[in-house]
Symmetry: C2
Subunit: 284 residues, 2 copies
């Protein structure tokens, strides 16, 4: 089956209505495009699970703050379509901004508490923008399942909670982080890195892995674990730490004493590029 | 066809899935119960337009402020079911609070700007609670159309904007206010009034009608129109005015110079009972 590319909300609805009526299972992979192997793994997983795979490609202005990289965020649509074709997507929804935000957006979906830590305080309004556009995409596509990468772990938790709280009836499928051979989590923003920065970038993953090892070896105090990981980051002159935090895996709240599975998450600036990553860890 | 009464979200979904699959048009009339002739007119209109009519009966705690009448709000379910049967509803969804709010609600739908005037400032959090529960009900029932009374005019505007902004793909049908013979807008809260209060209550409608007449006769200044209407209210010792405002009919913003159709809306306290009402008016 060949890839269908649609640009408007009404085209999506028209195209999907008969598929839904045939009771075929529809999956959605929401993306901002600039697709890499991590996105391809999301689409491939959706392909394996579903009758019909829709991919949205939309750089959502609502989730970028002032001074963030909305304008320079890469938009290589042709190569994105190649990725979608290769991995077997059925439909790409690549709307213009004006088709998604027809009039001034006055309605916002806000998930409280889960955005209070990690990226939340550093990106005011970001998760509100994410939850709002994902709610819109869910209502446009009405998928049975939607696939989200664990790299944006806090986003995953927030979307999962939104679906539960708003009775959206969509199964949220988390997909493990896709990493380069040196451990760097794939991200469309890795393209911003120069050679020296790219070489330095895996320091975040190494710090998170040390934190995990420290927990697995029996350390229970988050402060001790964070200090160990922080020393690795401090030794890399190209890295500036934004946060390194240990949180519970549901409500994303900081944990002082590690008694159950946790998520260790960090954000670092490598030059002018902000990178995030996370790993799970359970007490040994 | 006999009336089906369901209590849980999963029962609603189960019951409606085959109806949706048969492409029958589903309408929803969301209510807080204590159904009167105004509600009956909503259900009757839905009945005339649709294959399948669902009525929700749920007193939503999220839209009541502290000190408001959540606990004493009437809940006469048996007589509500009689009304639904008589007017020909197909299904009543009457959930317990714990079925609607399974865990702590962390996700809220907020419509900005449209709640800034009229009831908004006097009922902080009210419209957030309304928008959130209506979003939930829409996602549970997935109707093609939903019916709202014009008595809660600001609510109607907010829900309409939410549907547009979140791409819910539901047609919102406004239904004119149902009035008693003396003009009093029917409301479940009218049951709170004693005899003297009930006699005094139509003063709000009379004030709104005078405002309308003043506009139709050529007055363009809102301040003049409001003063005329206010003098009627001031003459009724049992009435205490909360607001009397002239707003545009889409974004519910105050209008100083009346150049197009407006909505005249008021809230008064009659004893311990808060009543609202509104009428449309166009410059003569």
């Amino acid at each position: 089956m060949s890839l269908v590319v649609v640009r408007t909300v009404s085209e999506v609805r028209e195209h999907l209505a008969p598929i839904r009526h045939d009771r075929r299972r529809i999956s959605l992979v929401p993306t901002m495009g600039a697709l890499h192997a991590g996105h391809a793994s999301l689409i491939a997983e959706a392909r394996a699970d579903s009758h019909f795979v829709a991919v949205s490609v939309f750089v959502n202005p609502l989730q970028f703050g002032p001074g963030e990289d909305y304008l320079r965020y890469p938009r290589p649509l042709d190569s994105d379509l190649d990725v979608c074709r290769r991995v077997g997507a059925d439909l790409v929804f690549a709307p213009d901004v004006k088709d998604v935000y027809v009039s001034d957006q006055r309605t916002f979906v806000e998930v409280t508490r889960l955005g209070d830590h990690l990226c939340g305080p550093f990106r005011p309004g970001h998760f509100r923008g994410v939850a709002t556009v994902v709610a819109k995409l869910f209502n446009i596509v009405q998928p049975d399942r939607a696939y989200f990468g664990e790299k944006d772990y806090q986003q995953l938790c927030i979307i999962r909670r939104m679906v539960q709280d708003l009775n959206l009836g969509i199964e949220i499928v988390p997909v493990p982080i896709y990493r380069d051979v040196d451990g760097l989590a794939l991200s469309s923003r890795n393209a911003y890195l120069n050679e020296a920065e790219r070489t330095a970038a895996p320091v975040l993953f190494r710090a998170l892995m040390l934190a995990r090892k420290t927990i697995e070896e029996g350390e229970r105090k988050s402060s001790v674990v964070r200090e160990a990981a922080g020393s690795i980051l401090a030794a890399q002159p190209l890295a500036r730490v934004e946060y390194l935090q240990i949180v519970d895996p549901i409500e994303v709240q900081p944990v002082d004493e590690i008694a159950a599975e946790v998520r260790i998450a960090g954000a670092v600036w490598i030059g002018k590029t902000r990178l995030i990553d996370n790993v799970a860890a359970a007490p040994g």
